[in-house]
């Protein structure tokens, strides 16, 4: 009654287990560990881990052409909808006030993008193609949605490791930044206090900021329009104070739903065949390097400002905050400063640099896309 054929069909699942799928399921366990036990960006890494696990189960119907994970991928990763929605939510919760009070800090944000390009060169030398190298470099923006957006356009086959790297390293800010700062600054520099001139930012200016940035960046770097446009849309909704319902929806319901779907879809790209390559290891290493170079460039640029202006007006610690991990990078800078002198309060300055880093990393992403479009 139970014939050979039936047994064969019933054992189909077990027969299709491969060592790659087992390893990838192990990788998903690592992601669960990082997310749950180490608390590394659990909102992203847990769904990514789940997507990875479900995609690597043998013959997973979720990965059919009409499977859920494929549909989720098509719904928002392929067309870049998810990262753009996430950006609306981020914009709705980011206060650019600290940057507006000290607009000169925008340059620190620019300096903090140097890691992108250095890593790009290294990746090229390691044999990655130009779009791949650019995608690896963008990890140096230390900005999840930007990394997903850019690499989704340039090298979708590397989306998995790049996203995992971007979000993991965002979580490693408190671990990676301090040694870089200590290595590049003297105690005397770290003790520099920065007096604070408060300037009341009018509501008009707060509302004009997102509009001006969108029009300026969008006109000069059209490739950056989606990223900067959505970030600034969220900010405009917040600062206008007129659409609280939409602001709340963007930073809560929409952000939560999209994050879950995004994580699952990204995780589903982590198939064994694509992921288990030495290139993945290189991506992780290069991404980490990009992050360190970002911090270093920021610190050195701050020192360079001091050199130029001939005074000790900028504590180089805050140079390291010129990345997009807002507001964590700023907090870590404050902690490093306070470790030297617990009456030294740099947080507001660091927040300014950090907000600049948020804008700068989006701009850098757009510039990278523009150069790649122009490029080669």
């Amino acid at each position: 009654m139970i014939d050979q054929e039936t047994i064969g069909l019933l054992m189909k699942g077990v027969n299709n287990v491969t060592w790659q799928s087992l390893v990838m399921i192990g990788v998903s366990f690592v992601l669960f560990y990082l997310a749950i036990v180490k608390d590394y960006e659990p909102l992203l890494l847990l769904p990514i881990g789940a997507g990875c696990m479900l995609a690597n189960l043998p013959l997973s119907p979720l990965m059919d052409d009409t499977g859920m994970l494929k549909i989720l991928y098509g719904m928002g990763v392929e067309n870049e909808l998810y990262p753009l929605f996430v950006f609306i939510g981020i914009g709705a919760l980011t206060d650019f006030g600290p940057l507006l009070e000290n607009p000169k800090f925008v340059l620190l944000g620019a300096a903090g993008q140097f890691g992108i390009f250095l890593t790009l060169i290294l990746a090229l030398l390691m044999g990655f193609t130009q779009p791949e190298a650019a995608s690896i470099g963008i990890i140096g923006a230390i900005d999840g949605p930007t990394s997903i957006y850019v690499s989704g356009l340039l090298a979708p086959h590397m989306l998995g490791p790049i996203t995992v790297a971007a979000y993991s390293y965002m979580s490693l800010v408190p671990i990676i930044m301090p040694p870089v700062i200590y290595a590049l600054t003297t105690k005397r520099e770290r003790l520099i206090r920065m007096p604070y001139s408060q300037r009341k930012i009018s509501r008009r200016t707060r509302i004009m900021f997102p509009i001006v940035v969108t029009v300026m960046v969008g006109t000069l770097v059209p490739f950056a329009t989606p990223l900067i446009g959505m970030l600034m849309l969220g900010n405009l909704m917040k600062e206008s104070g007129a659409v609280e319902r939409l602001t709340k929806a963007s930073s809560n319901e929409i952000a939560n739903t999209v994050t879950l779907l995004l994580g699952l879809a990204i995780g589903s790209t982590m198939g064994g065949a694509d992921f288990l390559k030495t290139s993945t290891l290189f991506i992780l290493v290069l991404g980490l390097l990009a992050f360190c170079v970002d911090c270093a460039a920021g610190v050195l640029f701050a020192k360079f400002i001091n050199l130029i202006t001939g005074g000790n007006t900028v504590n180089p610690i805050i140079g390291a905050a010129g990345i997009s991990a807002f507001p964590m990078a700023a907090r870590v800078c404050q902690r490093v400063a306070q470790d030297e002198d617990f009456e030294n309060f740099l947080l507001m300055h660091a927040m300014g640099a950090n907000a600049a880093g948020q804008v700068a990393s989006v701009v850098a992403g757009g510039v990278l896309l523009a150069l790649m479009g122009a490029g080669g």
Binding site: Y40, E41, L43, L44, G89, I90, L93, T94, D95, P98, L100, P103, V106, L107, A110, Q113, F117, L120, I121, L124, L125, Q130, V173, R193, P195, Q198, R199, I201, S202, F209, V212, V213, V217, L220, S240, G241, A242, E244, A255, A325, P327, M328, A330, R331, V332, Q334, Q338, F342, E343, F345, L347, M348, A350, A360, V363, A364, V367, L368, L371, G375
Partner: protein
Amino acid sequence: MENLEWGLKMTVLGMGLVFALLGLLWALLTVILMLDKEPKAVVSELETNAEAERIAAVADDAVGAQVPEPATVNGMPADLVAAILVATMKHKLILRRQAAPFMRSYWPGSQLFASRWVASGRARQTTNWQPRGK
């Protein structure tokens, strides 16, 4: 080698553009702020810090914003440090007040050092602080 050359070109162009764009933004912001004509005022670092904590606490709600490890200062919990700090500053204030008493709208440090968690709670209470409409 060709790749290296291309990479260097990308780096120069890329960083150049990023700096150029952000420099332009700096200029624009400066103009906008000049139009505002709001006065600048030197404020106490403690107050500034509390305000910064408030802003950071709101941003913590963003997806992808890590809630950081509990802050420590030289291995001591930040709350303890804050308490010591407040005591120290208070002492200084008293000395200063005794030296040259005068009226101020508020004492520097009067808002004390609110720990991040306190600031966070306050921020959440007051998130929608922008008056609606005009």
